[in-house]
Point group: C2
């Protein structure tokens, strides 16, 4: 049985874009797993993996940290229903992975940070204010968020241009069916969706909106049914 | 015989990143072509193709504009030595294409625009100052360039992170050998290399530097031997 350590906010909300990659990869392969929620101040739970961050999986004798390493592990251990059908698909996913981690997340983070203190578990609130305050150079997250959203939504939509180019030629980033490259981008979008208030990163007319709808329907609505902190 | 319309600066320098994609694709397939240089004020030369920009190719009865459309045409007409070995490779190249056009070129352009008036053909100088001046809102290109380079080199190196992630796992963006995804990025780097003075976009320790060296060696040093306006 696979155990997945997954970041948890208050009310069992699970926002981590990196953990979403792993959950979607597990679903893709038809694997079941035992879920182990971990709050920001419970890092002792993953100390056995020499990791400070989730996702971490414990799979038999294998302990694997980092979403990309987990994807590679799952592909090797469970080769059916491949996440990367071949080497070019793997290179494509690796590129998308690096692009999301840097170009996308750097835009999303300041647009959602203001909603974090109210949505993390109460016992994690001080930790978030201190750690994210250090990163931002201020603890006035509400102002950071307000300012970031003014230009950030437009910048985010522009940053998606490479995705649009691909989706003009095929329904999913990975081809005619979703695979790991799609789960990466979808995870990045499920992150704000799970707890950021009054934020819509996509335009309804955008080809990426329609793709997201298809992704939300996958695996019996696995993403769509996920708990959110948003009313 | 294929005719390629290729942007020309003074002294027969050929900087266009989009034309480089096509020239490298032609080399990849082992095709020969007739070269037709076109200055900025000679757009009448490509009017027959209903295009305002190069590359344009004339291949038998086919007239094709836009580097991506040309790549698709070449792949169909000359299927040997594929630019995209399969559909995932094509999606990968399409993504890299959109990413270079937007994320990379937006960073490179202001860092090289100051060197354009002195390096285009004398008869194209006024056109460049007027058209690029309109885009920039100023004709003081030297100041734009100076300011852009202050933070732009660092930003460019950061933007290459997705490339680095892939190249940690394989020697070329396309896999064990170069293909179209590599030509896209290489074309973007040959652009400043051909005419921008005192600008080095890469760090010698960067894995991308070593990749660029390999790319410069390709096709008997085709990129390395290209004329430049730089002493």
């Amino acid at each position: 049985m696979i155990t997945l350590y997954d970041l948890v906010f208050d009310n069992d909300v699970r926002p981590s874009p990196f953990c979403w990659r792993t959950k979607l990869a597990l679903k893709h392969k038809g694997l079941v797993w035992r879920d182990e929620p971990m709050g920001f101040t419970e890092k002792d739970k993953i100390a056995f993996a020499q990791s400070q961050t989730v996702p971490v999986i414990h799979d038999g004798t294998h302990v694997v940290k980092d979403s990309w390493a987990i994807a590679l592990h799952l592909e090797k251990a469970y080769p059916g229903k491949p996440l990367f059908p071949d080497d070019p698909a793997k290179a494509h996913a690796r590129f998308v992975n690096g692009w999301a981690d840097t170009s996308l997340h750097i835009l999303i983070f300041p647009m959602v940070v203001g909603d974090m203190p109210q949505t993390v578990r109460p016992q994690d609130r001080d930790y978030i204010i201190e750690s994210r305050g250090k990163r931002l150079g201020t603890t006035d997250f509400a102002t950071v968020q307000k300012n970031a959203r003014e230009k950030g939504v437009v910048a985010f939509r522009q940053a998606l241009e490479p995705v649009r180019r691909v989706m003009k030629e095929q329904p999913f980033l990975s081809g005619t069916a979703p695979a790991y490259a799609d789960y990466i981008l979808f995870g990045s979008l499920l992150w704000p969706r799970s707890f950021a208030r009054d934020l819509e990163l996509l335009d309804k007319e955008d080809i990426v909106w329609a793709w997201r709808e298809r992704m939300l329907d996958l695996f019996d609505g696995f993403g769509r049914k996920a708990k959110t902190a948003v009313a």
